[in-house]
Point group: C2
Chain length 270, copies 2
């Protein structure tokens, strides 16, 4: 096994570049993963591992799983603890890192994908932690996909991947350069699209059928634009108690994901 002892090594430089730069990820079609769990999950999900970087401790931690990972990887390289500390994004690195190939985005579908179990459309969200948490909830509740405007955080970024607990590697994620246009095409295909937004004619979520629907969720501060909402079938809200703080975006989107899953199971009471 090749060993790397300098952080100026081209592999290490590539790892760091992919870790920090969305542009590098987009151009190369590669992304990085850190941690035993994420790397093993990725392997199991069929993600192609180009380069596996491990410390002695990481190898020991992986135990029997090391052979399978190493067989699957294009190359496996041993790094020392110092380098691991330098490239790690976590406080107590496990010594397992991977450069993976393949974009997580599926690009915009030419025809609307099968969204029978419902989907979320994230518009201009800002926080990578929120996006990761939402993808995790969407997977847990069995949604068909998450659609995202192009200005959302990159799902292949380390923060989104970590917050999603690997769900971003498994759930279909579609990129929508123009979400309003996407809404038009979904509706033409007979898929109802609801805007999670307060407005004069907003319906409490309990009053609409979310079966096979798409729910659009807006930016943490600004929400969805009037113009965008006008393109959707209807505005829906989660009724909250008067005088209370609004829900945070991840929480609201997770509850819409839950409601979509209830609708898919036929548990709506309307």
């Amino acid at each position: 096994m090749r060993q790397i002892t300098s952080k100026d090594n081209p592999n290490i430089k590539e790892y760091v570049r992919l870790c920090g730069s969305r542009k590098s990820r987009t151009e190369s079609g590669c992304f990085v993963l850190e941690g035993m769990r994420l790397v093993c999950d990725a392997h199991q999900s069929g993600v192609r591992i180009g380069l596996l970087l491990v410390t002695e401790e990481g190898m020991a931690r992986l135990g029997e799983r090391f052979a399978a990972l190493s067989d699957a990887a294009g190359e496996t390289v041993l790094i020392d603890r110092r380098i691991a500390g330098q490239i790690a994004q976590t406080k107590t690195p496990q010594g397992v890192f991977a450069v993976c190939e393949g974009a997580l985005w599926r690009g915009e579908p030419s025809s609307p994908p099968a969204l029978g179990r419902g989907a979320l459309l994230l518009c201009s969200l800002q926080d990578p932690g929120n996006v990761g948490t939402i993808i995790r909830s969407a997977e847990a509740f069995g949604l068909s996909a998450v659609l995202m405007s192009a200005d959302c955080p990159d799902p292949a970024s380390p923060k989104v991947l970590r917050a999603s607990m690997g769900a971003a590697l498994r759930l279909p994620l579609y990129r929508c350069p123009d979400p309003a246009e996407t809404v038009g095409r979904l509706r033409e295909a007979g898929i109802p699209v609801f805007a999670a937004a307060l407005g004069e004619r907003s319906a409490p979520v309990g009053e609409v059928s979310l079966r096979g629907a798409v729910v659009a969720v807006g930016n943490e501060g600004a929400g969805l634009s009037e113009e965008f909402c006008a393109r959707c079938d209807r505005r829906v809200i989660l009724p909250i108690a008067p005088g209370s703080e609004s829900l945070n975006a991840a929480m609201a989107a997770s509850i819409f994901a839950w409601e979509l899953s209830r609708a898919a199971r036929g548990e709506e009471n309307r």
Copy 2:
């Protein structure tokens, strides 16, 4: 207005002590707040402000609200930006700090409190951010209260207060030294208690009536103990897709809060 220019001033030392030490908060019955929004929310919620600490910039930011806060406060003291930076818990402090009086815990009620709109019982949660987020969701969904085991993070800690967006100042919070015993007393009073836990006889949440119920949520890693679950009416789960990551504790508890609110509105389909 008195000015403080040294971080060795007793008021500043008290602030720092209350900020970092649960023991100090418990013994003194005081807690601290940082930020314009939290301090103003607290004042509006009737929290007694013993000491208001502001920088020149904080005063300017507060604008017209400064007079009302200052009138309400036992004393108002001007601090310089350097001290503000030293006592702040946020990266870009707004220059508004308060020492408040009164415990947020209500202690264990001698008879079960009115929980008609449902409640959560948090058992041994670890993460202050999760606890704050859960309290925020519980308030938003109009629950009657949140009950907490004594080993949960202190709701008067800066992290819980911040994550709750001030909801911890408004929602009744009850402290339960022995949660299993609390469950017994609630059930004696005719209040159904469900354990959010996977088990052989767990019911999907859609199959039980949560009207006026209490849902117990366990520790992030270990969940609820077998022994505790046996004391409850039944185990309930949120059905999740096979092969997906489990939900995080804050997300699961928030969805139970949502389901309790649906039940309180009579929106259950059973």
